[in-house]
């Protein structure tokens, strides 16, 4: 690694929030940088990086492939990001000291220490060119205006050059990250944010492009020190195996278990907390949050059942099961519906965008007068021929679902020029909706009842 100072990134649960707040009025460069880095890192490490910050950060970052440049080791880290990654060892923390630009970049990586700083600091430096545009509002101003930033040693340049690849890997890391801290998320009130002047706010906030963040529900995990791992029964099996081999839950140590399990990406913290839970579960059968209360209420339940209804416990339990099953069933159905609704929404949005871009090319004149309720023919004549092709497919697709997507509400921002005023059809006339994909935003947003 080059002899360059590195940023120390220390993370703490609270600091992320405080930094968010603090960064509101930051002046020195490094704080901004580190804050931003922390944010992004935080996102990356703790959470699903389905966060704006991450999106913002990664969007400008190249979408190239693996990290080639400086660090083979880093490459190694990133290379498995898609699966159950080995990058767990990112235990670097984000800096709290923000004022020493040359503070050493400490990565607490157990294994890949050297590698990380590079990627991370490079990432942080990258912002100099691109991120400022997209970074969190708290930083944006500082980024752009801070002169100190520009004084970074030349290694910054080196890093920046190699950045794209790194960045994309960063992206991938983030993408695959599943983890989650115990985010003692105090609800960060508006204040710190509001005070930040709306600077270079090129952050097109709502339009977080659908970088579909893949969050494998399996235990993919790229997180640092205190990550949240998503356990699976299989993993747990392996855990129990290891524990038993070591002589039981009392005798087994986290370290021993970790070693035995030989699962990539598992850290001792994971094992430790899991072991704790395991022990509790064994020695207090059926514990749970509020278990004592639950036990109390269970007893009360039983007695109340017996007394008030004369229902045996068995019947009561059966009834309980029935209700629970019912609820679960309904939840599943509901969830599926929700998924489909959104799917269709996405589909229509995509269609709309396609049409829009197609239309833009044709430079359709903006003044298309009110269309009659059956505009299919008219508009098709005006618009690109692809539309008519799209229409039937849309129709098929859209009508197949139970959740009928409201194209209008989705596309309410669509420019009127494409289709002028088009009266949104009632229930089943989605074909018409689709032909004239964009509708006037003057449509009332309260929709009439639709049939399922």
């Amino acid at each position: 690694m080059e002899a360059r100072p590195a940023l120390s990134i220390q993370r703490s649960g609270a600091s992320q929030l405080s930094n968010h707040g603090v960064s509101g009025g930051l002046s020195p460069s490094l704080p901004v940088l580190s804050t931003h880095l922390e944010e992004t890192y935080q996102e990356f490490s703790d959470t699903q990086e389905v966060h704006a910050e991450k999106e913002l950060m990664t969007r400008p970052l190249a979408h190239t492939t693996r990290l080639p440049t400086n660090n083979g080791v880093v490459g190694h880290i990133f290379s498995t990001s898609s699966g159950f990654s080995s990058d767990i060892h990112y235990s670097s923390a984000l800096p709290n000291e923000k004022h020493s630009r040359n503070s050493p970049f400490i990565s607490q990586l157990p294994t890949n220490t050297a590698a990380l700083p590079l990627s991370q600091s490079s990432n942080s430096l990258l912002p100099q060119s691109t991120i400022p545009i997209h970074c969190n509002k708290e930083n944006s101003g500082s980024w752009c205006t801070d002169p100190d930033f520009l004084d970074f040693p030349e290694w910054a340049d080196q890093l920046i050059t190699g950045d794209d690849a790194l960045a994309s890997n960063w992206n991938e890391l983030l993408v695959d990250n599943v983890t989650d801290l115990e985010p003692k998320t105090t609800y960060q009130v508006a204040k710190p944010c509001t005070t930040v002047p709306a600077q270079n706010q090129q952050l097109p906030s709502p339009s977080v492009e659908s970088h579909s963040v893949v969050n494998p529900s399996s235990s993919a995990n790229n997180a640092p020190a205190k990550p949240r791992m998503r356990w699976t029964p299989e993993l747990h099996e392996a855990f129990v195996e290891a524990v038993n081999q070591l002589g039981g839950s009392e005798r087994a140590t986290p370290k021993g278990v970790l070693k035995l399990m030989k699962v990539e990406g598992l850290t001792i913290y994971h094992v430790k907390s899991h072991l704790q839970k395991y022990r509790t579960a064994r020695y207090r059968p059926e514990p749970s949050e509020g278990s004592s209360e639950k036990k109390l209420t269970s007893m009360e339940e039983i007695s109340s059942l017996d007394l008030k209804t004369g229902m045996g416990i068995t019947e009561a339990l059966r009834l309980q099961m029935e209700v629970q099953k019912r609820l679960h069933e309904q939840l599943e159905i509901q969830r599926n519906l929700q998924l489909r609704i959104e799917e269709q929404g996405r589909y229509l949005q995509m269609m709309f965008e396609k049409q829009k871009s197609g239309l833009d090319k044709l430079k359709v004149p903006s003044s298309i007068p009110e269309n009659p309720p059956a505009p299919s023919d008219a508009t098709n004549d005006n618009e690109s021929p692809t539309k008519s092709q799209l229409e039937p497919s849309q129709r098929d697709h859209v009508n197949s679902g139970t959740g009928i997507v409201n194209a209008k509400s989705m596309l309410e921002r669509s420019p009127q020029e494409i289709c002028g005023e088009h009266k949104a059809p009632e229930t089943g006339d989605l074909e018409k909706t689709d032909t004239c994909v964009s509708e006037s935003s003057s449509q009332p947003s309260k929709r009439p009842r639709i049939e399922e």
Binding site: V178, A198, T297, E301, Q334, R413, I450
Partner: protein, 257 residues
């Protein structure tokens, strides 16, 4: 405000440890209102959007953390219950090491109770996930409506992939639990049971059962047609015996608002 009210209700009735893990719907709604009204140049749309997203992301983090923690617990407990059943059968069951019908029955009854409660708790977690999702979807819709933003669609896509929304594992555990219960505690005479159900008035005072009942009814309420019912809304929910379910609530000692 209907959803907000329902949500609040559910929160009140939920397990105490869960109370602060739900969506801060009301606060977010207030924020949306604030954003839409305070359109100063300082606090531009973009800022507001970013901040709003930041808050939402925090909420999501909260959900994810809680959900995954619970999930982990469930995995552990599920296995433990299975093993416990096995132990009971092997020890006190017929053909076990110390067969004893009394003990067997006794222990089995306990296990059964625990299993049913466990099942309920898992279902409640799925419900938790769902209701938070619903809340998020609504809040996003409100935001878009108020501020003319286009936050909803992409953001909700993101949400769909969050760990807390992907409830597959928990659902699987629920099903496994059901299977186990059905196997180990086979259902007896059906007709009688149905009759007894009809006759039952008060069943649950507090606890899991009450929560599930509340959740079920809540779901029904939330999905009742509303004024803003639109293409993105879920169809209304109709339980054939919702009266029965309602009756579970009627006599509860704690009045439901």
């Amino acid at each position: 405000m209907k959803f907000g009210k329902r949500l609040k209700q559910q929160i009140e009735e939920t397990l105490p440890a869960w109370r602060d893990k739900f969506l801060s719907y009301k606060e977010l709604k207030k924020l949306v209102r604030l954003i839409s009204s305070a359109e100063s140049p300082e606090f531009g749309k973009a800022d507001a959007g970013a901040e709003f997203m930041y808050l939402l992301n925090n909420e999501i983090d909260k959900f994810n953390a809680f959900f995954m923690e619970q999930e982990e617990d469930f995995i552990i407990r599920h296995k433990e219950l299975q093993q416990r059943i096995k132990r009971v059968i092997d020890t006190w069951g017929p053909g076990g090491t110390k067969p004893s019908e009394a003990e067997y029955k006794d222990e089995m009854a306990k296990v059964r109770k625990d299993m049913v409660d466990f099942h309920g708790e898992m279902v409640l977690l799925v419900n938790y996930s769902n209701i938070n999702y619903t809340g998020l979807a609504k809040i996003l819709k409100k935001y878009d409506k108020r501020t003319g933003g286009l936050l909803r669609l992409p953001f909700i896509q993101k949400v769909l992939q969050q760990p807390f929304f992907v409830t597959d594992l928990v659902s699987k555990l629920v099903k496994e639990c059901e299977n186990t219960i059905d196997q180990v505690f086979p259902v007896e005479v059906e007709a009688e049971i149905v009759k007894e159900q009809r006759e039952a008035i008060t069943v649950a005072g507090k606890g899991i059962f009450r929560n599930t009942v509340a959740a079920l009814l809540s779901m029904q309420e939330i999905r009742r047609g509303s004024s803003t019912y639109g293409h993105f809304s879920l169809p209304p929910l109709d339980f054939p015996d919702s009266d029965l379910i309602h009756s579970f609530q009627l006599n509860s000692p704690i009045t439901t608002v």
